[in-house]
């Protein structure tokens, strides 16, 4: 009897879902609504960063909820899926977006999931704009993938240059096993740093590791001048903590992921020196800064997703920009059809963004020549702008 109830129930469930999904998808694609897919992690290793990036997109959507394509005004609806920072979930998540008939996709934070999803977008011929995925492989073989940020070879070189110029000669490089972002960036850094004449020690830590004592000790033992670890913010907080506990005694250098309030709050009041390269410098666009902070203040969910305070992360600003790039692309295409949007992207030039103008080269990457170098002020727990650094 029990079994019978269970079976009927599940049958009912199946039917409702099928009907619900089928009907729902069909109706919302018509009318005056246009869908922009947001392909970001809300959980997993990159959950924190993904959420901050999504916040930027949501804020932009709040500021500019409509777009005029041709002569018609459309309401922009965000279709957000969680790719769980997991390559195997990324494919179905991306498929889910595509099946919701989105015109363009934004994301993802973390390069691995973007690479994994690239084929889905390519198959469906839906354009995607990478916001902060810096691995060159994202756009390299995928005509549908564009991006508005700089690339790892560039960032790695910038970081190496910065380190070398500041008299650091031996670098300890720590990446995470199985994480293509950190492994890739370390690779480019090592290449550039060695070319400059530096020396490196490379190590990797396994998934779910939270004990960084030995890595910090290894760096000290090797007598390095700089601790380079462009890993996820989860690990970053733990590394900072151990660096303080063991008096690391050398600056920690990292890439764009570390430009986050997770780092500043972890470093606040600690005796550590942290330098990062990033896309955006707070204060570069005061209107945007104030606006989004005000939004954080009034929207409790947004505040929580930002990590509980109003400090602004570069990825949020990038998310904001990405949304406007998408709108411009839609306008240029004059249609909501993904294929038309894709056609309009390569020649697109967008100015007036908070992180600088965007135009794409032949692989679909943004033409960026400079990165911002920031240092964490451990007394105030805020980022301080150091300089703009180029790859040359």
């Amino acid at each position: 009897m029990k079994k019978f109830i269970a079976l009927t129930l599940s049958l009912l469930l199946v039917l409702t879902f099928c009907a619900g999904c089928g009907g729902g998808g069909g109706s919302s694609s018509g009318g005056d609504v246009i869908k922009i897919g947001v392909f970001e992690p809300a959980s997993g290793d990159n959950g924190a960063g993904g959420k901050q990036e999504t916040l930027g997109i949501q804020y932009a959507n709040k500021m500019q909820p409509t777009v005029t394509i041709g002569d018609k005004e459309y309401n922009v609806e965000l279709a957000i899926v969680d790719n769980e920072s997991d390559n195997s979930k990324a494919v179905t998540a991306a498929q889910n977006l595509v099946s919701q008939n989105v015109s363009i996709v934004l994301g993802s934070y973390g390069s691995g999931v973007s690479i994994a999803a690239a084929d889905v977008f390519a198959d469906a011929n839906v354009p995607a704009i990478g916001v902060t995925c810096t691995n060159p492989q994202v756009t390299a073989d995928c005509e549908q993938y564009f991006r508005i940020c700089f690339l790892d070879p560039f960032q790695g070189t910038v970081l190496a240059n910065y380190a070398y110029e500041n008299g650091m000669r031996k670098a300890y490089c720590l990446s995470k096993l199985g994480d293509d972002y950190s492994v890739g960036l370390v690779n480019y850094f090592v290449e550039a740093f060695k070319n400059l004449g530096g020396e490196v020690v490379e190590e990797q830590f396994p998934d779910k590791n939270s004990d960084f004592t030995s890595y910090v000790a290894n760096a000290k033992k090797a007598g390095c001048d700089v601790f380079f670890s462009p890993v996820s913010t989860e690990a970053a907080a733990l590394i900072i903590d151990q660096a303080e506990a063991q008096s690391l005694g050398m600056p920690i250098l990292a890439g764009d992921t570390w430009d986050s309030n997770v780092i500043t709050s972890a470093a606040k009041g600690k005796n550590v020196e942290i330098v990062v390269t990033t896309f955006y410098q707070e204060g570069g666009n005061p209107d945007f800064d104030e606006g989004i902070k005000a939004w954080f203040e009034e929207d409790a969910d947004a505040m929580t997703n930002n990590g509980g305070n109003t400090d602004l992360a570069a990825v949020t600003a990038m998310g904001y920009d990405a949304y406007f790039v998408a709108l411009e692309a839609l306008k240029a295409a004059g249609s909501t059809d993904p294929a038309d949007v894709l056609g309009a992207l390569p020649s697109l030039e967008v100015s007036g963004l908070v992180c600088g103008d965007v135009s794409f080269n032949e692989t679909g990457d943004a033409n960026k020549t400079e990165a911002f170098v920031k240092k964490c002020n451990t007394e105030t727990g805020a980022w301080e702008f150091l300089k703009k650094q180029s790859a040359e």
């Binding site: 009897m1 269970a6 179905t92 691995g112 096993l177 492994v183």
Partner: protein
């Protein structure tokens, strides 16, 4: 009322159903536009069929041989990598192995055979590394099995889990980078171009598993599951049979790994962790331990629910209900609660240890209206029985309380505390293993 069809009718029915399904998947994949939400159905069928295969292979071990092994994700990992490594086209090597100078293996089986035999070579080039993946996994399972299969149930579980973790670290090891690409994703390898491919391959593999289970070896496996000691006393070599089951199960796990690699189009070792094994195990449990039909149903339900139907729970709008507590992560909570409910209240899963049969299905269908009609009566009877049981329990409780109060009172009044234990002339000692 029971329905009994003759063998021929059943075969025809099955063949027609299978053919219809394959045709539906084939044309579905071609004709449904990517923007339609029905496309998701095809995706679910693809992924579901791959998970069905790995769940069936796990069921062969856990449900039919009684070996609680948690190494499935590790075996899939090897399968996925083996397939991917040998099918990356030659001119993509530099891009894929960008940090390892184009890698060690600079050719692709698919390309070589395609050059020689055309389209046939293309598919042959896909099948050979896929079977190779299965065989390699089988060899590794053979080696792992030598020490591990001598362990008892939960030690076996934790040891296989451990091996899967070791394998993962091994595949990400930078020194092996020229082959495995270290921590970086493998991509650009040859994949199938229609969803019917994984469905067909999984279907054939599952059919083989079913044939095995119904053979004399399958009977031997089940006897080991039911009672190891009795099976041994019947002349069944425990270790050899466990090993056989372990190797065959791993072979199919390897094949499903290769299929998963094709489905995902990129492969990285990180997701092949314990969580993945647990998910496969939960599929087996939902479907019913000891039922291949159940594993298949479980795989499709699990994939559909987690990747499609419940997604709305994360987005804040689901079945027309919207609420602020439906934020990212809620889907997984609901899902986990559902699974716990199944584990606790329907511990036999959807199918228990029964398999699908046309007779059973048609009988069930025919009796359905009658059962539905009889349901209120039955329900009433059941709830009455439950009420009675509850009342009896309450009465017993009250009685016990009274007895306790009495004894307290007697104790207080200084009566002797000694009450002789009832003398049992036959003490039944249960088996600790719970066999």
């Amino acid at each position: 009322m029971e329905v009994r069809l003759n063998k021929k009718t059943k075969s025809v029915l099955s063949a027609v159903c299978i053919a219809l399904f394959l045709i539906f998947v084939y044309f579905g994949d071609i004709m449904i536009s990517p923007g339609s939400s029905w496309k998701m159905l095809i995706t679910v069928i693809e992924k579901g069929s791959i998970y069905a295969l790995v769940a069936a292979s796990m069921n062969l071990l856990n449900g039919f041989t009684g070996l609680f092994s948690l190494g499935q994700a590790g075996f899939m990992l090897i399968g996925a990598y083996t397939y991917a490594i040998f099918t990356i086209p030659a001119d993509s090597h530099d891009k894929v192995y960008q940090y390892f100078d184009g890698g060690l293996i600079k050719w692709s089986i698919v390309e070589i055979l395609e050059g020689k035999m055309g389209v046939l070579g293309h598919y042959l080039g896909m099948f050979i590394p896929m079977i190779g993946a299965g065989l390699l996994v089988a060899v590794i399972a053979f080696l792992i099995g030598i020490p591990v299969l001598r362990l008892k149930s939960d030690y076996l579980a934790i040891a296989t889990l451990g091996f899967a973790e070791i394998l993962r670290a091994f595949f990400q090891w930078n020194t092996l980078g020229p082959v495995t690409n270290g921590s970086n994703v493998l991509r650009k390898y040859t994949t199938y171009n229609n969803a019917v491919f994984p469905v067909l391959v999984s279907g054939i593999c599952i059919a083989i598993i079913v044939l095995l289970i119904n053979s004399t070896y399958g009977r031997a496996f089940r006897s080991i599951r039911d009672d190891e000691i009795a099976a041994e006393a019947m002349g069944i070599n425990l270790f050899r049979h466990k090993q056989t089951s372990f190797i065959i199960s791993s072979f199919f796990a390897g094949i499903s790994g290769a299929l998963l690699a094709m489905f995902q189009t990129t492969i990285n070792a990180t997701p092949f962790n314990t969580v993945m094994t647990y998910e496969i195990l939960l599929i087996v449990v939902i479907g019913g331990i000891g039922s291949i039909t159940g594993s298949i149903i479980g795989a499709f339900l699990f994939t559909a629910a987690s990747e499609w139907w419940l997604r709305g729970l994360d987005a804040g709008r689901w079945l027309g209900i919207s609420a602020s507590f439906m934020r990212p992560g809620f889907r997984k909570v609901v899902f986990a609660v559902l699974i716990m409910l199944i584990v606790l209240f329907y511990s036999r899963g959807i199918m228990g240890d029964r398999e699908f049969s046309w007779d059973g299905f048609l009988t069930w269908c025919r009796n359905l209206p009658a059962n539905i009609k009889a349901w209120p009566e039955k329900h009433k009877a059941k709830s009455a029985a439950r009420k009675e049981a509850r009342a009896a329990k309450a009465a017993a409780k009250a009685k016990a309380k009274q007895a306790k109060a009495d004894s307290e009172a007697r104790k207080a009044s200084g009566e002797a505390l000694f009450t002789p234990l009832p003398v049992a002339d036959h003490v039944v000692v249960f088996d600790k293993e719970g066999k």
